[in-house]
């Protein structure tokens, strides 16, 4: 076949670190707003002479963050461990159960309602029970965070596994593919973007679950995560320290989201629309 091929791949290599003016604006605009708000906050606190136990200024909070970094960073590590482990277990179990659902309609029909029940029951309401039932505090916190993080991964992955292209399924059938080959080479790759979207939601939820459980476990627990520091600082009217812990919680949430977004981008950038960014699309 000698004829020239119509069209040509239009993929120009995307610029790496060199950012377009648009991209700079995207970074700069929120930073400017942030600085303005912080400046206004500091000014308000000073001008009105608001005492730090009502509302500390950003500078006082930053000072507290630096001063108490020793205890705060130790607590951050505890919360991070709970969150990360819960997310990992949620991802593994969610994926496994979704595959079981996709393989057997009966398994899906009989178990899915219970997954929903687990999801819709507020974690604050069941956390005390779990903490009573499970002797190990670390484990009970992990279970709470897991319960919250589990469902988005399960439901997203299930949808993904079931949205396989029918023609591709026919093609696999035509070539006599085994059930395992269909799962491994067709259904799982199809479900990948859905799984990763679920993981991104669950990352934030795992942190929320961990913090909520820590709050419920409270001072009774011997684990000392960030929520425990917030409670403790509240009792002691150490409001700047309370804010510092809060900053760490938010920062952790943002970091988790960014890390999972990056993971998703790296895994999908070659083929999936969601990870292609701007530029020409076909």
């Amino acid at each position: 076949m000698s004829e020239a091929v119509e069209g040509a791949p239009s993929e120009a290599p995307r610029p790496g670190l060199a950012m377009a003016p648009e991209a700079w604006l995207r970074v700069l605009a929120p930073v400017v707003i942030g600085l303005l708000v912080l400046g206004g906050w500091e000014w308000l606190v000073r001008a009105r002479e608001i005492p730090p136990y009502i509302l500390p200024g950003p500078i006082a909070i930053a000072q507290a963050l630096v001063r108490d970094w020793g205890t705060l960073s130790a607590s951050l590590l505890v919360t991070l461990k709970t969150t990360g482990l819960a997310l990992l277990v949620a991802a593994a179990l969610g994926l496994l159960l979704a595959v079981a659902f996709a393989q057997s309609r009966i398994v899906e029909l009989s178990l899915f309602p219970y997954a929903v029940i687990l999801q819709v029951t507020p974690i604050v309401a069941i956390a005390p029970l779990i903490i009573i039932w499970v002797n190990d505090v670390t484990l009970s916190l992990l279970i709470c965070a897991w319960i919250v993080a589990f469902f988005p991964i399960l439901s997203n992955t299930t949808v993904g596994l079931n949205s396989t292209d029918h023609n591709l399924l026919d093609l696999f059938r035509l070539y006599g593919a085994s059930r395992w080959q269909v799962l491994w080479r067709l259904r799982l790759p199809t479900a990948m973007p859905f799984f990763l979207a679920g993981l991104r939601i669950s990352g934030g939820l795992a942190l929320i679950g961990a913090i909520v459980a820590e709050f419920v476990a409270g001072t009774g627990g011997n684990a000392s995560g960030l929520a425990y520091r917030i409670l403790e600082a509240g009792y002691q009217l150490q409001i700047p320290r309370m804010f510092a812990a809060l900053v760490l919680v938010s920062g952790t949430g943002i970091a988790i989201f960014l890390a999972l977004s990056l993971l998703s981008h790296l895994l999908l950038r070659r083929w999936h629309e969601s990870a292609m960014g701007g530029g020409e699309r076909r």
């Binding site: 091929v5 069209g7 292209d165 093609l171 070539y175 080959q181 790759p189 999936h272 629309e273 076909r282």
Partner: protein
């Protein structure tokens, strides 16, 4: 049944679970090396017929026989209306799929896929992902995948319907070139009179509701056909004849 047939359909019918009769009373013999076009309006069951020949659907009546022996998974190639490529796999990996599913070692499957890609004019695009390819190029990958197992029978379900006319003409020529060189058997579903006359040796005109064979016409123009055939009086005469048959097939439905 003619013993020389590759596949032979006798009284084949398909009734869907919903009760709709898709096709009935289909008698059709396809000889090795034939290029048969199934031509008809949408809803005449030509895709259903193709899926039954492929073994993707079971007939509810009649029988489909393979005088030369039941085909194995590698004996049939199928090209869908859409390119139907795996978006996460490169062009080469997509083409290698049928071989890998059959258990061929990766390296060998990859080299066969690469040479098949070259055969359809896609040398240099082995590592390209489907998203980076144009519609025509994706269809070429799909064609390469269907041919990589060296099938005896190539089934094509309106493969070029979604392409622009210029690209379609080019792919028609390339398909004819491949067919002339390899002489596999082709059953080509289309709703275009012009495409069927240009490509096929035999045109089976189907009538709708329920789908059935209305007429069979031979296109005795010599192979290889090229662009000059498209503008010849012979081509125009065949098109007129086939158009009339198609109009007659649809007449009761239009009334």
């Amino acid at each position: 049944m003619s013993a020389a047939s590759l596949v032979s359909l006798r009284g084949v019918a398909k009734r869907y679970a919903t009760g709709t009769l898709a096709v009935r009373g289909i008698d059709l013999d396809i000889a090795p090396g034939d290029f048969v076009a199934l031509l008809g309006p949408s809803g005449c069951g030509k895709s259903t017929l193709l899926r039954m020949v492929a073994g993707l659907a079971e007939p509810t009546g009649g029988r489909i026989a393979w005088p030369g022996g039941q085909p194995s998974a590698r004996d049939i190639g199928f090209v869908f209306q859409e390119p139907t490529l795996m978006p996460w796999a490169t062009a080469q990996a997509n083409v290698a799929l049928p071989l890998e599913l059959a258990g061929m070692p990766r390296a060998e499957a990859a080299s066969r896929a690469a040479s098949m890609l070259a055969r359809v004019g896609l040398q240099g695009f082995e590592k390209a992902y489907p998203r980076a390819l144009s519609g025509g190029m994706k269809m070429r990958v799909s064609l390469a995948r269907a041919l990589v197992t060296k099938p005896r029978l190539l089934l094509m379900d309106e493969p070029f319907a979604a392409l622009d006319e210029i690209t379609r003409f080019r792919l028609n020529n390339d398909l004819l070139e491949l067919w002339t060189a390899e002489r596999f058997t082709v059953v080509f579903v289309t709703h275009s009179v012009f495409e069927s006359v240009y490509l096929a040796q035999r045109i089976v005109v189907m009538a709708p509701r329920p789908g059935r064979i209305h007429a069979e016409l031979a296109v005795d123009a010599p192979a290889p056909r090229g662009e000059e055939f498209r503008t010849s009086a012979d081509y125009a005469a065949h098109c007129r004849e086939v158009s009339q048959a198609l109009a007659a097939a649809m007449a009761p439905a239009a009334a």
